[in-house]
Amino acid sequence: MIMLSLAKATLGHGQCPVLQDVNAAFAPGEFVALVGPNGAGKSTLLSALAGLNPPISGEAMLANRPVALLSPGERARRIAYMPPDEQTVWPVPARTIAALGRMPHRKPLERLKAGDEAAIDAALEKTGVAHLGHRRFDMLSSGERARVLLARALATEAEILLLDEPTASLDPRHQLGLMDLLAAEAASGKLVVIAAHALGLVARYCSRVILIDGGKVAADGPPAEALSESNLERVFAITAPGGARPTGWSPA
């Protein structure tokens, strides 16, 4: 069953194409990593999947409907998206940030209901920041902020999770915890797509890697194939004997 797909899509900003001829279909339960050099177009692809950056040509489809035709509310309930570098100007408590994830489920001016509170608590618990709920978001460390923002995305309880570099500012232990968590979300039937540079983690946890380079999809398959020695040399210009190997690290 196909949940989310791009067909013959040209993606970019305005009329300036970044990625050409993208064909990719995603099924529930997949844990996909978008991998590629800086500027390759990972974020462009993610925001197109999120329905926020409509393809210049081609179509992004959710189930059998163009994402562009969904109402913003329905799209927000079904797709949780975490853009890179989210910042806040107001020194609100961390829990208020996580609570934003429930907004797509609420009517205007409606208060949080018990179900909303439970979803927020569960999300904060999963990302290990429940104890930080009352702290000011802007006073947290960048890793703690990243986990609160992930809780915000999880709190929506959407069937699709699109996360732009969720591991970027986490310490090794929390990176492992995050990947465990996302693998569990995928195993529960959700579609999880992340952009990531941590190839050892990607190789260990992800079921599929889409390698992006030079304005197109360079490889699409299981990590062992997509992150092979020759692909890594071609795309990243690095020598990686044996390709990207799954990390053997685990929390002690």
């Binding site: 926020l52 853009p83 806040t88 107001w90 020194p91 609100v92 208020t96 934003l100 907004m103 001016l109």
Partner: protein, 323 residues
């Protein structure tokens, strides 16, 4: 309601400010009780409409300030920043300059409202359909600058010193001319504007994490922008139409109260409106107390004089780190 206690305290402060406003300059209680017609007229036709207008305009400025600060994600935004105050002022000055003030008895307010509507329309057209908050703020500054320069030109060209001083005093803002006519002109516009602005609450929260996140949460940014500009034009334009440009309330009221609502934009709206009402009413009471015959003080002066000490205190305590 989560901020029930805060709102009750604010309502009490509004009530105290209102009482002070009615009592300022002496209250003819004895004459009123003995059925003196003149005393009744002073209360019902002079003091009450002025009080009502002060409360309503103060609330509209506080609310508009809170919405615009939330929308622009900038604590320095005030209702003037989208240019509607200046363009409403320009409309009024045009009416004064061409001697159209008597038109239907509501010439000045009518032209002020037309000015606010024109300013808002120009702003939305210049900024375009897909404008970001930054584009909108820059366009707003440009609209305000244009309206201000045209106003200055009118003053340059004004035929005599009397017309010049009428324009200058009008621009400083005053509730001294308030009657039930002014209330009936301003109240529907301001109510409509506040109604529109109330619908922005949820989207303002979503904007806490930026425009991209807000869109992903289902916020229609184009609609939000139109609500903000149209709501501000109605709410602020309605006030400027009858009382001139009253500064500072819209900037300071949200600021003073933000800390009491955990800095959450949606929860700030009602307290900011009540705070604006209290501040403007207190400022107007002060003016009624201090203004002697022939030396009318202007409202913008008093709002700043009352608000600035709070503001200094706020800036000082905020720079000392986390609350």
């Amino acid at each position: 309601m989560r901020d029930f206690k805060l709102v009750v305290i604010q309502l009490a402060i509004c009530a105290i400010a209102s009482l002070a406003h009615l009592l300022a300059g002496g209250f003819p209680l004895g004459a009123l009780l003995s059925g003196d017609e003149a005393a009744r007229l002073i209360l019902v036709d002079l003091r009450l409409p002025r009080l009502v207008l002060g409360l309503v305009i103060g609330a509209s400025l506080g609310l508009t300030g809170a919405v615009l600060q939330g929308y622009f994600r900038n604590p320095l935004a005030d209702p003037g920043i989208v240019g509607v105050t200046s363009s409403a002022g320009l409309g009024a000055v045009i009416a004064l300059y061409f001697g159209l003030g008597g038109f239907l008895g509501i010439g000045v307010p009518l032209f002020a409202i037309l000015g606010a509507a024109t300013g808002a329309a120009v702003l939305l057209l210049v900024a375009g359909a897909r404008a970001s908050a930054t584009t909108l703020i820059l366009s707003g500054v440009a609209v305000a600058a244009l309206a201000n320069s045209l106003t200055a030109l009118m003053m340059n060209l004004s035929p005599n010193p009397w017309a010049l001083s009428e324009i200058a005093y009008w621009l400083m803002g005053s509730l001294a001319n308030a009657s039930w006519t002014e209330v009936s002109v301003a109240l529907p516009l301001i109510a409509a504007g506040c109604f529109v602005l109330a619908f922005t609450a949820r989207a303002l929260d979503a904007l806490t994490l930026g425009e991209e996140t807000a869109r992903s949460l289902g916020v229609n940014l184009t609609l939000l922008r139109i609500l903000c500009v149209a709501g501000a034009a109605l709410a602020v334009g309605g006030g400027v139409a009858v009382a001139g440009a009253i500064g500072f309330v819209g900037l300071v009221a949200p600021h003073l109260l933000r800390r009491f609502v955990d800095h959450q934009p949606s929860r700030l709206l009602l307290p900011a409106a009540l705070g604006g009402a209290a501040l403007l009413t207190a400022a107007d009471a002060l003016i009624r107390l201090l203004s002697g015959q022939g030396t009318p003080l202007y409202l913008g002066v008093a709002t700043a004089l009352l608000g600035v000490p709070f503001f200094f205190w706020l800036v000082r305590t905020q720079t000392r780190g986390p609350a």
